[in-house]
Subunit: 345 residues, 4 copies
C-alpha cells in the first residue's frame, strides 16, 4: 500500500469518553482521514468545539458533527467506527456493511457468538443475529489474522481485555485449572461513561472505593466465551469489578491454580513475542496503571505463591485505550495493512 | 466506675498518622485525660502546634511532646498507648508493664503468639517473647472479655481487621472451606505511614493503582494465626494488597468456597448482634469506604454466586480508625469498663 | 438552662451534602433532639438508610423522612433548620415563624436585606420581603448577640464566610482601602451540591481546575452587603471562584491595599480574641484546607508584601461546616444559650 | 533541511518529571535522534527500564543512562537539553557551548539577565554570568526569531509562562496599568519535582489546597524582567502560588486595571495569530486545565468586569509541557528549522 495514501474513516456516536479518544487518535493517525463524526446532540458543531484537546489538528475545525445516516457515512468512509451505546450499534452495522463499509464496533453488540447468551446477559433478543457468525472479536493479539480480513470487528470491552490477555496463553497451554479462575478488577470512573448520574459525581467517587455488579456482570458473557475457546472446554469464572477514584486505568488481579508452574513464563513469551503492546513484567516488577495510562500497552506480571500453590497474574491497561479506542485503532491498522503501532506511539 | 472520673493516658510515638488520630480521639474522649505524648522529633512543641486539627481542645495547648521515658510515663498514666514502629514498641512494653501501667500497643510486636513465626515474617528474634503469652489480640468483637482484663493489648493491623471480622464467624461455624480463602484488599495511602519516600508522593500515587507485597505480606502471620484459631485447624490464605489513591479506607473482597450457603446470614447475625461497630449489609447493598471513613465502623456484605458456587464477602473500614486508632480506643473503653462506643460516636 | 434538657429540632430538605452534615451534627449534639427530617424523595426511609454514616446513633434508625408540612414541624420542633434550595426556603419560613418555631435557614433566601439587590442577583422578586428586616445574618463572630435573640437566622454561604471573617476586622478599623479588595477563592466540589450534572462528574473534575461564574457570582450580593456595613460605606469587590478537585474545603486568597500595616495583627486579635472557631495563623504559617476539613474552624493568615505594598490575607474553612452546617449549629448554640462549641468539638 | 534527516540530541539530568517528559517527547519526535541521557543514579540502566511509558520506542531499550560528561555529550549530540537542578546546569553549559553544542536549559540558571537580581533571588553569585547576555529566553511566541539562532536557550519556568503569555500583549499595547498586576496561580504537584519530601506525600496533598512562597517566590525575578521589557518600564507584580491536588496543570487568574477595554481582544489576536499553541478563548468560555494537560497548548480567556472596572485574564497550561518540556521541544523545533509543532501533535 502506498505510504502516502490514507483511509477515509467516520465515527458514529462520538460524544462519550471512548468516542473522544477515538476521534483524537484518528486525527493524529498518519494514515487515517476523518471524514465524518455523528452525534445527535452536537449536530453542526465542529470537533474542536466539542473536544478542545483536538484543536491543534486542522481537521478538528473543519469536520462537523452530523446526524447519523448510514448512506451518507458509507459513501464518505471506507471504515466506520461505532462508538454507540449497546443496543444502538446493532441498528447501524447491517446497513453500513450492505453499503460496502467495513465496521469496527466498540459496543457489546457483536461480541457474543451465541444469541441465547446475549439474551441472558442483555435481557432482549439480538437485533441482527445473522451477523454474529461473521463478526470477528477484535483482540489483535489473539485474532490478528481474522481481523485483517474482517468486514465487522467487535472490539472487546475494557474488563475482558484485562482478563483475556493474561489468561488465554495459560489456558491454551493447559497450564492452569479452568475452574479455578477468580478475577478481581479495579476500574477508573471513565469506564462508567459520560453519564449525568449521582453515583459518578466527583464527591461520590473521590475518597471512595466500592465493588459493584456482584456477582454477575454483563462482561462475563464475552469473557467466558473467549476463555472457553482458549481452554477448549466451557469455562465459568468469578469476576468482581470495583470502582476506584482515578479517571483512567484498569488493574486486574487474577487468582488461578496452576497445573505446571515452570512453563508460565515460556507460555507468555511464546504468545506475545511479536505483540508490540503487551509488556511482560514477569516476576521482576508489578503492574501500575500509571505506567500504561495514555498508551495502548497492557502490562502483565505473575507470581507463584509456594505457600498456597496458587498463581497470581496481574494486568494493567488504560480502559479507554487498550480497553477501547486504542484497541480499535490497532484493529484498524490490521484491517488496512498498516503497521500495527501506526498512530499509537 | 464514677461517671465523672477520667483515666490518665499517654501516647508514645505520636508523630505519624496513627498517632495523630489516637491523640485526636483521646482529646475528644469524655473519660480520657491525656497526660503525656512522646516523640523525639517534636520535643517541646505542643500537641496543637504539631496537629493543628486538635486546636479546639484546651489540653492540646498545654500538653507538650516529651522524650520517651518509661518511668515518667508510667508515673503519669494508667494506660499507655504505643504508636511506635514495629521493633521499637517491644523495648518499652516490658518496663511500662513492670511499673504498673497497662499497655495498648498498635505495632505488630505482640500480635504473633509464636516467636518462630514472628522471626519468619519479621526477620529477627522477638525482643520480649516472655510477654507474648499474656498479650491479648485487640479485636474487641472476638476477644472482648480478655481485653477487659488485659495488661497488654496488641491491636490488630488494618488489613487483618478487614479480613478477620468477615471470616471468623464463618470459620467458627464451619460454613466455609478454610483452604479456599482468597483476600484481595485495597488500601488508602495513609496505610503506608508518614514517610518521605518517592513511592508515596502525590504524583506517584494519584491516577495510579498497583498491587504490592505479592505474594507474602507480613500481615499474613497474624491473619493466619487468628483464622486458624477460629477454624480449629491450620489455615493458609491468599492475600494481595493494592494501593489506591485515597487518603483513608480499606476495601477487602474475599472469595471463599462455602460448605453451607443458607447459614451465612445467621452466622453473622449471631456473631455481631451486640457489636456496635459492625454494620452488616447482608445482601441488600455493597460496602463503600466513603460510608465508614471517619468512623470506627466496619461494613460487611456478602453474595452467593450460584454460577460458581463461591461466596463473596466484602468489607470496608477506615484503616486509621477501625484498622488502628479507633480500635485502640474501643479496647481502652473495654479495659476501663466504659461504654464500648465512648468517644467514638 | 438545665444541663440535661434538650431542644427539639427538625431539618427540612435534608437530602444534599449540607443536609446530611446537619443531620449528622444534630445526632451527635448533646443538647439537640432530632424530631423530624423532611425530603420528598426519601419519605418513609430512616435517616440511617439514607445516610449510612449516621448509623451509630439510635435515633438515626427511628427518625424517618416525612413530607414537608409546616404545621407538623412547628408542633414537633422548637427550632427548624431549612436546608432547602434557594427560592424554596422562603415558602416555609413565614408559616413556621407564625406557628412559633424559630428558623435557621441555610439558603440564600433571607441573607440580602435589600429586595432590589435580591432581585438583581437572583432574577425574581423576593417572596417574603417583610421578613428580611427581622432576619439576622448568621455569622456568629460578627452578629453573636443578635443571633441569640433571633427568630429567623440566615446562615451565610460558604464563600461569604471565607471572605467576610478575614476582611470585616480590617474594614471596621479602617486598615484597608475598601476599593482595593480582590478575592480569589478555591472550592471543593461539594460546594456545587448533590446534583446529577455532567460538570460535576468525577472525570470532569478530577485532574482539572477551572474558574467559573466570572465576573458576577451571586454570592457577591451578601458579601458586599456585609463588607459595606463593616466599612461604613458602599463596597464593591472583585471575586473569582474556582473549582478544584477536593470533596471539601475553601481556600480564599485576598489582595488588599492597606492604609496601616502595623495594626493588622492587633485588629484580628481584638476581633477574634473570644472566637473559638477562628484560628489566627498570623505571619507564622499559611492556611491549608486539610487542617480545617471536618471541623468548624476557619484559619486566617496574612502577609505584608513590602515590594508591592499590598496585604495578602488568606483563609481556609470546610465549606460544609464553617461554610454551612457547622455554622448553623454554632447559631443554634447561641440561640439556645448553649456553649458555642457544643456538639462541634 | 532534508525531511529525513534527524538532529542528534542528548538530555542531561533526566531523572525527574521534566526529564521524563523530555525524553518521551524526543523519542516520539520525527526529527530527533536521542543519542544520550545522563543521570548519576541510573547509570547503566536503559531508558525503558527507568521510564516504562517509553517502552514502545526501540531506542528506549538501546539508549542507556550514562555519567554526565560534557566532552562525550558534545561529541554525540548537536543539541543538549539540560534538565538539571538550578545551580547545576550552569556548570555544564559553558563547556558544552565551547565544544560546539547548542544548549537548551530548562533550569532557572540562564533566565535572569541581571546577575544582581539573580543573586537577590537565588542567594548566591551566578557561576557563568558572561553567558547571560547571549542566552535567549525560550518563550517562542515572544522570542521566536532569536531562538532560531540561539546557541543557549533558557526555557521559562511553568508559572512565568502562564503569566507572561497573557500579559505581554496587553503591556506592549499599553492596555493595562503595569502597577496593577495581581497573579493568583494554582499548580499541580508535579511542579514541585520528584523529591522525597513529606510536604508532597499523597496524604499531605490530596484533599488539601494551600498557598506557599508568600509573598516573594523565586519566579518573580524572571516574570518581572520579561514584563518590564514588554511594558518598557520597571514592573513589580503580586504573585501567589497555590498547590492543588492534581498531577499536572497550572491555572493562573490575573487581575489588572485596563486603560482601554475595547482593544483587548484585538491585542491578543494580533499577538498570537500565528502561534499554534495559544488557544484564545476570548469571552466565550473559561480555561480548564483538563483541556490542556497532555498537550503543549496554553488557553487564555478574559472578562471585563463593569462593576469594578478590572480586567480578569485567565490561563491554563500543562506545567510539564508548555510550562517546561513541551516548550523546550518547541524551541528545539525553531532552532532546527523544523515545523514549530513537530513532535507536539
Amino acid at each position: 500500500m502506498n505510504s502516502g495514501e490514507k483511509t477515509r474513516v467516520a465515527v458514529m456516536g462520538a460524544s462519550g469518553y471512548t468516542g473522544e479518544e477515538l476521534v483524537r487518535l484518528l486525527l493524529r493517525h498518519p494514515r487515517a482521514e476523518l471524514t465524518a463524526v455523528t452525534s445527535r446532540q452536537f449536530v453542526g458543531k465542529s470537533v474542536a468545539e466539542i473536544f478542545p484537546r483536538t484543536s491543534l489538528h486542522p481537521s478538528a475545525h473543519t469536520v462537523r458533527f452530523s446526524d447519523p445516516a448510514a448512506e451518507k457515512l458509507a459513501a464518505e468512509a471506507e471504515i466506520v467506527f461505532l462508538a454507540l451505546p449497546h443496543g444502538v450499534a446493532v441498528e447501524f452495522a447491517a446497513p453500513l456493511l450492505r453499503l460496502g463499509a467495513r465496521v469496527i464496533d466498540l459496543s457489546a453488540d457483536f461480541r457474543i457468538k451465541n444469541p441465547e447468551i446475549y439474551r441472558e446477559f442483555y435481557g432482549h433478543e439480538h437485533g441482527a443475529s445473522d451477523l454474529l457468525d461473521g463478526a470477528v472479536y477484535g483482540l489483535p493479539e489473539i485474532y490478528g489474522e481474522k481481523i485483517r480480513a474482517a468486514q465487522l470487528v467487535a472490539c472487546p470491552g475494557c474488563y475482558p481485555t484485562s482478563i483475556l490477555l493474561p489468561l488465554i496463553p495459560l489456558l491454551r497451554e493447559k497450564l492452569i485449572d479452568p475452574g479455578s479462575i477468580i478475577a478481581s478488577s479495579l476500574s477508573g470512573v471513565s469506564g462508567a461513561g459520560r453519564k449525568a448520574e449521582l453515583d459518578y459525581l466527583f464527591v461520590e467517587c473521590n475518597e471512595s472505593v466500592r465493588p459493584y455488579g456482584v456477582p454477575k456482570h454483563r462482561h462475563l458473557a464475552e469473557i467466558e466465551q473467549e476463555l472457553s475457546i482458549a481452554a477448549g472446554s466451557s469455562v465459568t469464572i468469578q469476576f468482581t469489578p470495583h470502582l476506584i477514584p482515578v479517571n483512567r486505568g484498569i488493574l486486574t488481579t487474577l487468582y488461578v491454580t496452576p497445573t505446571d508452574t515452570k512453563q508460565i513464563g515460556a507460555a507468555f513469551e511464546k504468545a506475545y513475542a511479536n505483540a508490540p503492546f503487551v509488556r511482560l513484567l514477569g516476576e521482576k516488577s508489578l503492574p501500575d496503571t500509571k505506567h500504561v495510562v495514555g498508551s495502548n500497552v497492557i502490562e502483565i506480571a505473575w507470581r507463584h505463591d509456594p505457600r498456597t500453590g496458587r498463581l497470581i497474574v496481574m494486568s494493567a491497561e488504560d480502559n479507554l485505550l487498550k480497553g477501547a479506542s486504542g484497541q480499535a485503532i490497532q484493529c484498524f491498522n490490521l484491517m488496512c495493512g498498516y503497521d500495527e503501532t501506526a498512530g499509537l506511539l
